[in-house]
């Protein structure tokens, strides 16, 4: 099996602040790959690099053999048609119905007649179990339903790669399971490659093939879900078992407590 996405030695920073410090990462075709780490460690930045929304300071990001940062706008847009992305809160177009949201890309990028678009949209909605909600507006959906609609939208044009930005954030346990299952099932049935960025360890370990742990801009650990559960690395252990203190400290770096409180020493 070859790699659909390959990230080699990538560094990136906003201004002076470095976010990624030499990341190596690969996603094989047909797999669900998770990128985990605590909030604000640069996971979402990785997705934006793959989507070409930002360019790395050094290193290369390759998708399907193309170097994303070297593409011009047309090439980038061509590549993005083969990518889907599920945004953190769905990012559904609030001025369109569920149906129009999913039909959006088909209408923008294809010349398909409206009857075929209708059938395709209903098929996508059926895949996420929301065929009956086609005529609702996004404001009428619950958080979990909105996430499923967004998922249907991200696979609207049968992409080769789907990226999920925190797909589990803010969902109830049932919706959580539904989304997790959908990601796994769609990946297998449509032959997708999925990259899931998340901090929800328990849910994602159930569905992923391979996991990367990111902390402070570097990969701390990687391996299959089984390997991660069994891992003895302190960072992974802390993360998987959700311990409050450990290699990732509870306290933000600060001066000595006593000094901050101006206690006489």
């Amino acid at each position: 099996m070859d790699n659909l996405v390959e990230i080699k030695n990538v560094t990136f920073g906003y201004g002076e602040r470095p976010i990624l410090k030499g990341i190596n990462l690969a996603a094989r075709r047909g797999q669900v790959v998770a990128i985990m780490g605590s909030s604000g460690c640069g996971k979402t930045t990785l997705l934006r690099l793959i989507g070409g929304q930002i360019k790395p300071d050094s290193g290369s990001v390759q998708v399907a053999g193309q170097n994303v940062s070297e593409l011009d706008t047309d090439g980038l847009y061509e590549l993005r048609r083969k990518m889907g992305m599920l945004f953190q809160f769905g990012a559904l177009f609030t001025d369109m119905s569920v149906f129009d949201n999913i039909a959006f890309q088909m209408r923008e990028h294809t010349q398909l007649p409206e009857e075929i678009i209708r059938d395709l949209v209903l098929m996508k909605l059926h895949a996420v179990g929301l065929r009956g909600a086609a005529d609702l507006m996004p404001s009428e959906l619950s958080g979990g339903m909105a996430r499923r609609v967004a998922l249907a939208r991200s696979i609207a044009l049968e992409p080769m790669l789907v990226m999920y930005d925190e797909p589990f954030a803010g969902l109830d346990p049932i919706s959580l399971g539904v989304i997790g299952n959908l990601i796994r099932r769609l990946t297998d049935t449509l032959g997708l490659t999925s990259i899931v960025v998340t901090h929800d360890v328990q849910e994602s370990l159930k569905i992923v093939d391979y996991v990367y742990f990111v902390s402070e801009g570097v990969i701390e650990a990687e391996g299959t879900a089984e390997e991660m559960r069994a891992s003895g690395l302190p960072f992974v252990h802390q993360f998987v078992h959700g311990e409050p203190d450990g290699p990732v400290p509870f306290h933000y770096p600060a001066r000595a407590y006593a000094e901050d409180l101006r206690l006489a020493l």
Binding site: Q53, Y77, R80, F89, A91, F93, Q105, E108, H109
Partner: protein, 264 residues
């Protein structure tokens, strides 16, 4: 650093920031113009925005126009009566509306009704990552979202200003002729004799087009540039109304100085 120096440094920093922002806004404006193809090729997108910018502003424009015209009729009559030239009431109402009040007040109302709505909508689309989602779907948000709104605003503004003026003249007619009893014949004939098509009406239309460009461009930029937070969007909306009002009045002065210079 000592206090006065810090003040000067602050002033310098703010100036630099303002200049940089104007630069970004100009680039955004040019990008909107360059990527306007979609707005015309798929004119349905623009029609939809004309509904939101133009049709939904109709009521406030028509009602305000009527009242402004009626007030002009009353005040104008009071003043003209002193000189015994009430028959010039039509001219006074028509010229004030067509040259100044029509374009300016309609644009101010448009800025607070449609401009703020545009900023809030674009700002929220940005805050909820809808614009980023569009980009990831290989759809250019400037072409798909910004440009249709821009052209809708530019097309709606002169129509709204014309409706405002027409409604205002009707209001002046109501008060002057129907209520007070100024002679109807001289009301209209003096108006026709003194209001020039090119000098007054066409210049008024040109003004309203310029205001339409300014208000819509400001509203779109503020929305697109808004920090993706609730506070950011609300501040951007306020800024749209304040900035466009000031720009309308300043532009009005400049345009008036050029258009009506040395005439009359």
């Amino acid at each position: 650093m000592i206090a006065p120096l810090r003040l000067v440094a602050n002033l310098g920093r703010h100036t630099l920031e303002a200049v940089a922002r104007i630069g970004v806004a100009t680039r955004f404006f040019l990008a909107t113009l360059l990527r306007s193809g979609t707005a015309f090729r798929r004119f349905g997108l623009t029609i939809r925005e004309i509904y939101f910018a133009g049709v939904l502003s109709l009521i406030i424009i028509l009602v305000s126009g009527l009242f402004v015209g009626m007030v002009l009729g009353l005040q104008g009559f009071e003043t003209l009566q002193t000189y015994g030239s009430e028959s010039a009431l039509g001219v006074l109402v028509a010229l004030s509306l067509v040259r100044e009040l029509g374009p300016v007040v309609a644009a101010l109302l448009f800025a607070s009704r449609a401009g703020s709505a545009i900023t809030a909508e674009i700002g929220l689309m940005k805050a909820t990552e809808q614009l980023a989602a569009m980009e990831m779907m290989a759809v250019d948000p400037v072409a798909r979202v910004v440009a249709p709104r821009f052209w809708a605003g530019v097309l709606s503004m002169p129509l709204l200003a014309a409706l405002f003026s027409a409604m205002g003249i009707f209001g002046g007619y109501l008060v002057g002729v129907v209520l007070i009893g100024v002679d109807e014949g001289s009301f209209w004939s003096q108006m026709q004799a003194q209001v020039d098509f090119e000098e007054d009406i066409l210049n008024g239309v040109i003004k309203s087009v310029v205001f339409g460009v300014a208000v819509t461009a400001i509203a779109l930029f503020e929305g697109y540039d808004a920090p993706p937070t609730a506070e950011g969007v609300s501040r951007a909306t306020t800024r749209t109304v304040v900035t466009s009002s000031l720009v309308i009045l300043a532009l009005d002065f400049v345009l008036t100085a050029f258009m009506f210079r040395g005439v009359g």
